[in-house]
């Protein structure tokens, strides 16, 4: 009965998120409290209570991830403000020239770098603000242009230090375990992304138009004094020109330090920030730029941080003894025990990670992962593989993901069109991830 109540609460939670009656974070907090109460947790008390365990201890559970997100956002803001990302994309377009496939592959590589620094819409913007219109201008169709940025930033996710920290915190495995799996998932995502670009470019061909869109700044005419933050940032970039060549390796700094020198995630990201400041910002403007971009990073990092506070609570709730006891028999019964059945069943469940569905790790999927681990259904590392594989699908194809919405609309298409275009490829990538999981952890 308890299990039925929890599953019903989860279904209601998914409904609230799907219908957008409640923001995901708020729905997850309510769901956490509901699960805890249904599982018989007392309101107060030091052990296993709603206030103490779920809200008080759950909220900061992913705190290391939150700091990493803030630093990643800071670095992303700096890359945008100093023109590092723009310069990278512009150089790719200039070198790629009139060959749309070459330009698209170049932007894909830049998007991987951006995706390895920060996630979601900010990463898509870093690569896409210049990359998407540039690709369209050289003849890439809008659908493929948006898809290229999306498969790029998501192929960068296995290298993203923030993602390592998140999966480590959420699933409860060491960062080294996450790193081990993600580095093996990366080639699969890389090949899948390249296949998307090359096959779709061949299928859709090149497209040139005589078309007119609403200009960015209404009014046109002569030079105007920029009043918006974005306008002022563009003005500063204009004064500085291209970022110097040695600043262009900024996105590689954190990943090289973390992988090559085994430096922890937060110092690696901080080193990236310092490197960008020293190489791309004039000495006199350094402190003011550092502070301004840090404050801007808080704006960018706010939505994911709020989400991770809620996910921490959800993980605490599904880890309560009452919830584990109630859910374990059901989850055990429906979870495939054979390794290849694991691949088949979870491959068929890929669409459940879309539309904020129950297998979305940045939502209820975190709770599902918690149940799978606390019920000892699969080893934690296998759950990591499962969720990381699903992450490849929702990072690209989910029409409700902020990066998908942004990239699609910026290219002038509907997010659902991006989903249709990319899903066959991301589904295959996810299956590749599931097979990898079986080989690494279930055989």
């Amino acid at each position: 009965m308890t299990a039925f109540g929890i599953l019903l609460a989860m279904a209601v939670g998914v409904g609230l998120m799907l219908t957008r009656r409640l923001p995901t974070a708020f729905a997850l907090v309510l769901l956490s409290v509901a699960i805890a109460l249904i599982a018989g947790a007392p309101l107060t008390g030091e052990e296993g209570s709603v206030f103490g365990t779920v809200l008080q201890e759950g909220a900061p559970r992913l705190s290391a991830t939150m700091i990493a997100i803030l630093l990643g956002s800071w670095l992303g803001t700096l890359m945008s403000e100093t023109g590092i990302a723009t310069t990278l994309v512009r150089k790719i377009v200039e070198f790629g020239g009139e060959r749309p496939s070459v330009v698209a592959v170049g932007v894909f590589v830049i998007a991987i770098l951006c995706g390895s620094i920060t996630g979601s819409a900010p990463a898509a913007m870093l690569a896409g603000v210049v990359g998407i219109p540039a690709m369209i201008a050289v003849g890439v169709t809008p659908t493929v242009a948006a898809g290229t940025v999306l498969v790029g930033i998501t192929a960068g996710v296995p290298l993203e230090l923030i993602n390592w920290q998140f999966l480590s915190d959420a699933i409860g495995v060491p960062v080294s375990t996450v790193q081990y799996f993600q580095l093996r998932l990366f080639p699969i995502a890389l090949v899948g992304g390249l296949a998307y670009i090359l096959i779709e470019m061949r299928r859709k061909g090149a497209r040139h138009t005589w078309a007119v869109r609403v200009p960015a700044s209404a009014g046109g005419g002569g030079p105007e004094r920029p009043t918006s933050r974005r306008g002022r940032a563009a003005e500063r970039r204009r004064r500085r020109g291209d970022a110097p060549w040695y600043a262009l390796v900024t996105p590689l700094v954190p990943i090289v330090l973390a992988l090559g020198f085994e430096i922890p995630i937060i110092p690696s990201l901080l080193a990236g920030v310092v490197y960008a400041l020293f190489t791309a910002v004039p000495w006199r403007e350094m402190t003011s730029t550092a502070l301004r971009t840090l404050y801007q990073a808080f704006d960018i990092a706010a939505p994911p941080i709020v989400l991770f506070i809620a996910i921490g609570m959800l993980l605490a709730a599904v880890g309560l003894p009452g919830a584990v006891t109630a859910l374990s028999p059901i989850v055990t019964a429906i979870s495939p025990s054979s390794p290849w059945l694991f691949v088949l069943v979870f491959a068929l469940m890929v669409p459940l990670s879309l539309y904020r569905g129950p297998m979305n790790i940045f939502g209820l999927g975190a709770g599902v992962a918690g149940v799978l681990i606390s019920g000892n259904i699969y080893p934690a590392a296998a759950v990591l593989g499962l969720m990381a594989s699903y992450g490849q699908v929702l990072g690209v194809s989910d029409p409700t993901s902020t990066q998908t919405v942004w990239a699609s609309q910026y290219a002038g298409i509907r997010p659902e069109r991006s989903m249709v275009s990319t899903l066959p490829y991301t589904w295959v990538i996810a299956i590749g991830g599931l097979v990898l999981t079986v080989f690494l952890y279930l055989l």
Binding site: R90, G139, T209, V214, G220
Partner: protein, 236 residues
């Protein structure tokens, strides 16, 4: 007259247009040189956001000249391009976007699609701007076909010639110099080709700017993600 005129048409009292009105925009466009309008177009491209204006003007002038030479080299009188042409009644007028024509190149199979509703819209804009004599609906259609024909021609050796003519240095290491592609230059060239190939008195770039002004005046894109840069390619 049943045809819808874009908002902000000629003032009823015949007095001077208010600053910032659509009519003032049309007047400014009419008074601008083709080179300035082409440089404006390049400046709106995301990759050229922080380029020096003189540099953009130079590129614009080179691209315009290249398009004129392409048209002159044809010698013969204007005729529709030897390529599959598809006419579509609808689909060219979209929220925040007017798509007059597109050239789709897929292996050996290429075609041009022309959108009737967008041609009609462009004709109305031309009328509102007082350019009816320059841009009838049929003239806009011819210009659109010639524009896409130019894109087709630029896919081969001519594209590389344009790149050489623009002579933009993307990388220099000692004596080694790598020429870079100038995004948007092909659009300027295509417009220039269309103008000279169809013997148009007024540049299609002016018509393009007028349509952009009309779209801006109509209000923001209700469907899109908010303002975005106009770029050659998606843009004229």
């Amino acid at each position: 007259m049943s045809a819808r005129t874009p908002a902000g048409g000629p003032a009823a009292d015949g007095g001077p247009p208010p600053e910032g009105s659509l009519r003032a925009h049309y007047a400014r466009i009419a008074a601008s040189s083709e080179e300035e309008l082409a440089a404006d177009l390049l400046a709106l491209t995301a990759t050229h956001g922080d380029r020096d204006r003189d540099r953009l003007r130079d590129w614009a002038a080179t691209a315009l000249e290249f398009g004129r030479e392409m048209a002159d080299s044809r010698g013969d009188a204007w005729s529709p391009p030897d390529i599959e042409i598809t006419e579509k009644e609808r689909g060219g007028v979209r929220p925040g976007e007017i798509l007059l024509a597109e050239y789709l190149h897929r292996g050996a199979r290429s075609r041009v699609v022309v959108y009737d509703d967008a041609l009609t819209f462009a004709g109305r804009v031309a009328r509102a701007a007082g350019w009816s004599d320059d841009y009838s609906r049929a003239t806009v259609r011819e210009a659109a076909l010639a524009h896409e024909e130019a894109h087709r021609m630029l896919h081969g050796e001519l594209g590389r010639s344009l790149r050489r003519r623009l002579d933009h240095t993307a990388l220099r290491i000692g004596p080694l110099r790598v020429r870079g592609h100038v995004v948007g230059a092909d659009e300027i060239t295509a417009h220039s080709y269309a103008r000279h190939r169809c013997s148009l008195r007024r540049s299609p770039i002016a018509l393009t700017a007028a349509i952009a002004a009309a779209l801006t005046h109509r209000g923001p894109d209700r469907q899109g993600p908010g303002p975005r840069a106009t770029t050659p390619g998606v843009h004229p």
